[in-house]
């Protein structure tokens, strides 16, 4: 219970700070963010858009971990955990795409410009979209769990490439691209021109969203487990 209250306070703080802390040219007080040329206030998207993309990666990673666990022990509970993690991963992947597109309309001039980052997240959405199509097409529980576990492991191999490598070695519009002047040669988004207080709130946001993800995942897989248990009981009884 205590961690849920902590999460509430943390996310409330991140929301208030992320939206309302002023952006000034020369920050002097701890609650002021630096002005990033050409971005103005919409630089604050970093507190909400980046954690969404981060949760997408975490979701897909956890889905793969539980897929491996399932293949080793053949316990259907692990399949439910993997499914719930991937479901959240896909939701946050979609959110990262939409929030990025809305921001791009004002920062780059159009919603979609096939920037390497946009192309790679689109490919990820297709890959994981296919995973859900695969799952819903198989009736047998064990077969569905085995096949989707194998697919999930193969799908995850593409994630580091699409999220961390490809958009950084190619020229593009997204911060952190190879031709980005702020991070020459391409680099993690953290090298973005942030001051300490902006970095602290950014990391608090990442931590808060990760805990929120854990909570959502836990409720999600529990509901799946109970549904399965009930179904089995009904069939047997």
């Amino acid at each position: 219970m205590a961690w849920k209250i902590f999460l509430f306070i943390l996310l409330t703080f991140v929301l208030i700070a992320g939206i309302s802390f002023p952006i000034v040219e020369n920050p002097k007080v701890w609650y002021q963010f630096p002005l990033i040329p050409g971005l103005k206030e919409n630089a604050k998207i970093i507190f909400f858009h980046v954690p969404s993309a981060w949760l997408a990666v975490i979701g897909f990673l956890m889905s793969t971990i539980y897929s491996i666990k399932y293949l080793r022990k053949k316990n259907l509970d692990d399949d439910a955990k993997s499914y719930s993690a991937a479901q959240l991963g896909l939701i946050f992947c979609i959110l990262a795409t939409i929030t990025g597109a809305v921001w791009a309309k004002f920062a780059w001039g159009s919603f979609w410009s096939w920037d390497p980052r946009q192309t790679s997240i689109f490919a990820l959405l297709l890959i994981y979209g296919a995973w859900f199509a695969l799952r819903s097409s198989i009736e047998s529980e064990d077969k569905r769990a085995t096949l989707s576990a194998v697919y999930s492991i193969i799908a995850f191999v593409t994630v580091p490439f699409f999220v961390f490598i490809m958009p950084r070695i190619m020229d593009g519009l997204h911060p952190g691209s190879a031709d980005d002047k702020v991070t020459p040669g391409g680099g993690p988004i953290v090298d973005f021109r942030m001051n300490d207080s902006m970095l602290v709130i950014f990391f608090l946001s990442l931590i808060g969203f990760t805990i929120l993800y854990y909570w959502m995942w836990k409720i999600g897989y529990k509901s799946l487990l109970y549904k399965e248990k009930l179904n089995k009981k009904l069939i047997r009884g």
């Binding site: 998207i45 909400f48 959110l95 809305v102 921001w103 549904k227």
Partner: protein, 56 residues
């Protein structure tokens, strides 16, 4: 629409607000999904309890 676009361009904090709103909608959609699943479970449990009563 043109006016709205101009307004957002000049007051870019509202773009951040829209983005927070989108994330919020995503979380809410997940809650809806979960709620639907739990209602299904609830219904099945109720059905089972009633069947047990009838058998008695």
């Amino acid at each position: 629409m043109e006016g709205f676009y101009k307004f957002l361009e000049n007051n870019s904090i509202f773009i951040v607000m829209i983005i927070v709103l989108i994330v919020w909608i995503g979380i809410f959609a997940y809650l809806f999904n979960l709620d639907k699943r739990l209602k299904g479970i609830e219904k099945e449990i109720e059905k089972e309890v009633e069947e047990d009563k009838n058998e008695e």
